[in-house]
Amino acid sequence: MPHDHHDHDHPHALLPPDPALRVKALESLLTAKGLIDPAALDVIIDTYAHKIGPQNGARVVARAWADPGFREALLEDATAVVSKLGFYGRQGEHIVAVENTDDVHNVVVCTLCSCYPWPLLGIPPGWYKSDAYRARVVREPRAVLAEFGVTLPEGQSVRVWDSTAEVRYLVIPQRPEGTEGWDEEALLPLITRDSMIGTGLAKAPA
């Protein structure tokens, strides 16, 4: 009974239990059937490991901070605006930008799976896909934010966006004080991935 810890009603139980061996077995099978090209897998991995990531979203946020016209257009139709920057694509077909203010702090989750704006932020981090985050952030966002070291003022309400359709959300964090007059390039390093999900704030200037 080599696979007796898996559910036997499902074909996946036929694969080896060790995940690294599972993927290897699937890859070998699909390659032998002519259904995948292993070199194409390398290209996909390289794309998401090195080319598409939070640097894209940070570019959008920095420009929104530095350019009021851009910010207005982004809040009006983010899909069109980020497309012009080349940030359209898989898991980012319908983008909405939501802006943090003194009155409201936005946080993004996908309670049902792991929806995330790939072209802007890349592949989601492990915690975003974790049961604890998915289960808890809708019910007790402030307790979850505290686990990220973030405490919000009592006067600021929280709005949690549960990504239950194909709309993907980008949080525009509040621009840190002391950055008046800074240009886009200077602002860029202050923008963290977590600040664009809402579990972090932008960095204060050093």
Partner: protein, 223 residues
């Protein structure tokens, strides 16, 4: 009615443990392979995104909870490959492999960038919205697929039967409840509906906090 993936609001999970922001995208090399093989198989065109989500949700609760994230992807993929007739159980179990007649659709290296950039938009021409921004609505109760018992739906259980306010309308989008079960796209107006935390949880963490969900028109009734 619920499935194991529908965990929003659940009690009992421990703290969220954030990795450093500069952690590797794929912290084990097989994670990247699992993602890539899943995307490459999707490009064969034998299923859509809603079908693949439903495959992961259909894992037994025991497997769903035991598996790490990419193990769920691999299990969902293996189950889909068999249920959609792409590979046989014998092949999956290590038996004799025959070449697929889908091989001409294989995703080649030079096509990857184009496929990822093209994406798969879900908006479609469809009916005009019945609800206006600012209108009060109530969500379906219980959260369920009305076409297929136990089928795919995107109304989370925690937001079932709750009153909220239409915040945005996104035009008509493919309905996952039908699309996940080969019942067509049946596009419907999609709305962002905002709920008061008190309406969702009874005792909210802080009065005035809110949660939004993106919900299709048939999930909603006017108040």
């Amino acid at each position: 009615m619920s499935r194991v993936h529908d965990m929003g609001g659940r009690f009992g999970d421990g703290p969220v443990v954030p990795e450093p922001q500069d952690a590797l995208v794929f912290d084990e090399s097989w994670h990247g392979r699992a993602l890539a093989v899943t995307l490459a198989c999707g490009a064969l065109g034998r299923w859509n995104l809603d079908i693949s989500r439903h495959a992961r949700e259909s894992l037994s609760p025991k497997d769903y909870m035991r598996f790490s994230y990419y193990e769920k992807w691999l299990a969902g993929l293996a189950d889909l490959l068999v249920s959609r007739g792409v590979v046989t159980e014998e092949e999956l179990a290590g038996g004799v492999v025959s070449r697929s007649n889908l091989a001409e659709r294989v995703l080649r290296t030079d096509a990857v960038a184009g496929v990822l950039a093209k994406g798969g938009p879900a908006d479609r021409p469809g009916p005009a919205p019945a609800f206006a921004v600012g209108q009060r609505v109530r969500t379906r109760h219980p959260a369920r697929n009305v076409f297929v018992p136990g089928g795919h739906t995107r109304l989370p259980g925690y937001a079932a039967g709750v009153e909220g306010t239409v915040l945005r309308c996104h035009g008509a989008h493919v309905l996952p409840d039908s699309h996940a079960h080969d019942l067509g796209e049946q596009p419907e107006p999609l709305y962002t509906v905002v709920f008061d935390a008190g309406a969702l949880w009874g005792a909210p963490e802080r009065a005035g906090d809110e949660v939004t969900c993106d919900l299709w028109q048939s999930y909603l009734e006017p108040l």
